[in-house]
């Protein structure tokens, strides 16, 4: 799923300074699961903002709403019933959702309430970690199911750098070294010989380097 962090409160307060009637918009998908932009977090931010502005003597009128998804046109379309007299939308969806709502409703600013951060998993309740960078040409079959693109700080393809220490990455001691994980897995499965197979230089044109990506399935188009 897509993982995000809530923006610092002061930054949000600053963005909303010129506005009185806001729509605080959440999303029921990834940002709900990673506890940053679902109904609960919308309610909490709304309450915080209401208190802050009341205390400042600049009361704010907040309408809370959560869309099933912010990245699909049918749900975004339904917002038309909700926007009404709102002056601004503060979205707690991921960057995709924020933009998509903004593209549909051009006469109202759609501001980001979160910093969209990575594609990851819930390692344990309350802990999320990165697993994929959407490089567009998956090599998990060659690396024992561990992604060196996203999990190695240097995206190395043929073994660790010199900084791998005690199983951890030199960039951050709390992060396991991806290559240590890969080698451990080779050993576990008695496949260490595969470690010697050289990976060719990666063609990054399928990744961000090739520009914004698009996927089309002609058979699904209406």
């Amino acid at each position: 799923m897509i993982i995000a962090n809530r923006k610092p409160f002061e930054e949000i307060v600053d963005m909303l300074k010129p506005y009185k009637r806001i729509l605080l918009l959440g999303c029921n998908e990834c940002v709900t699961v990673c506890a940053v932009g679902g109904a609960k977090e919308v309610a909490v931010l709304s309450s915080e903002l209401a208190m802050y502005r009341a205390k400042e003597g600049q009361p704010i009128d907040i309408k809370e709403h959560v869309l099933e998804r912010n990245c699909d046109p049918e749900y975004v379309e339904a917002l038309i019933q909700v926007i009404g007299d709102r002056e601004v939308i503060l979205s707690m969806a991921c960057g995709c959702g924020i933009q998509f709502v903004g593209e549909r409703y051009r006469n109202i600013p759609v501001l980001p309430g979160v910093n969209t951060t990575f594609y990851g998993v819930t390692e344990e309740h309350g802990v999320w970690t990165e697993r994929c960078q959407g490089c567009g040409n998956c090599i998990l079959d060659k690396t024992m199911g561990i992604c060196p693109v996203s999990r190695c700080a240097k995206s190395l393809f043929n073994g660790p750098c010199g900084g791998s220490q005690g199983g951890n990455c030199e960039v951050n001691k709390d992060t396991p070294c991806a290559w240590q994980l890969i080698v451990d897995r080779y050993k576990e499965r008695n496949m260490l010989h595969r470690y010697l197979e050289l990976q060719p230089i990666k063609d990054w044109s399928t990744s961000r380097d090739g520009g914004p990506r698009k996927r089309v399935r002609e058979d699904l188009k209406i």
């Binding site: 409160f9 909490v44 309450s47 915080e48 903002l49 208190m51 205390k55 003597g57």
Partner: protein, 116 residues
């Protein structure tokens, strides 16, 4: 036991402090409460195993939220006591009331008052 505790303390009963969510406490402040305390069972004695420990973590989180929105994290507290400690409850209620009195009223109310 006929114990006395300050009349300004309003009690809201929940099955377990683990039921108390962040938003419940924020709403209390939004509606003008000057302080909120959670009275949970003693640590290690939760009927639901970890309800009071969860509440403790939530209270810590609520403190940061109240600090960032300018209400003040000191206005919320977590206490642990058993249901047989009526005396202690009365003591905590007085302690908390005193602390909140020193902090003064909820800043939202002050602002609303000044507009009148």
């Amino acid at each position: 036991m006929r114990l006395n505790y300050p009349t300004n303390v309003k009690i809201i009963k929940v099955p377990c402090t683990g039921r108390v969510d962040v938003i419940h406490v924020l709403k209390a402040f939004e509606h003008g409460a000057d302080g909120v305390f959670l009275a949970g069972c003693l640590e290690g004695e939760c009927h639901f195993l970890k309800g009071n420990l969860r509440a403790k973590k939530r209270v810590a989180h609520i403190k940061t939220l109240l600090d960032e929105c300018g209400i003040g994290g000191e206005r919320v507290a977590m206490y642990n006591l058993s249901s047989a400690q009526g005396q202690r409850f009365a003591e905590i209620a007085r302690e908390m009331t005193e602390k909140v009195r020193q902090l003064g009223p909820n800043p939202i109310k002050i602002e609303k008052g000044s507009n009148n």
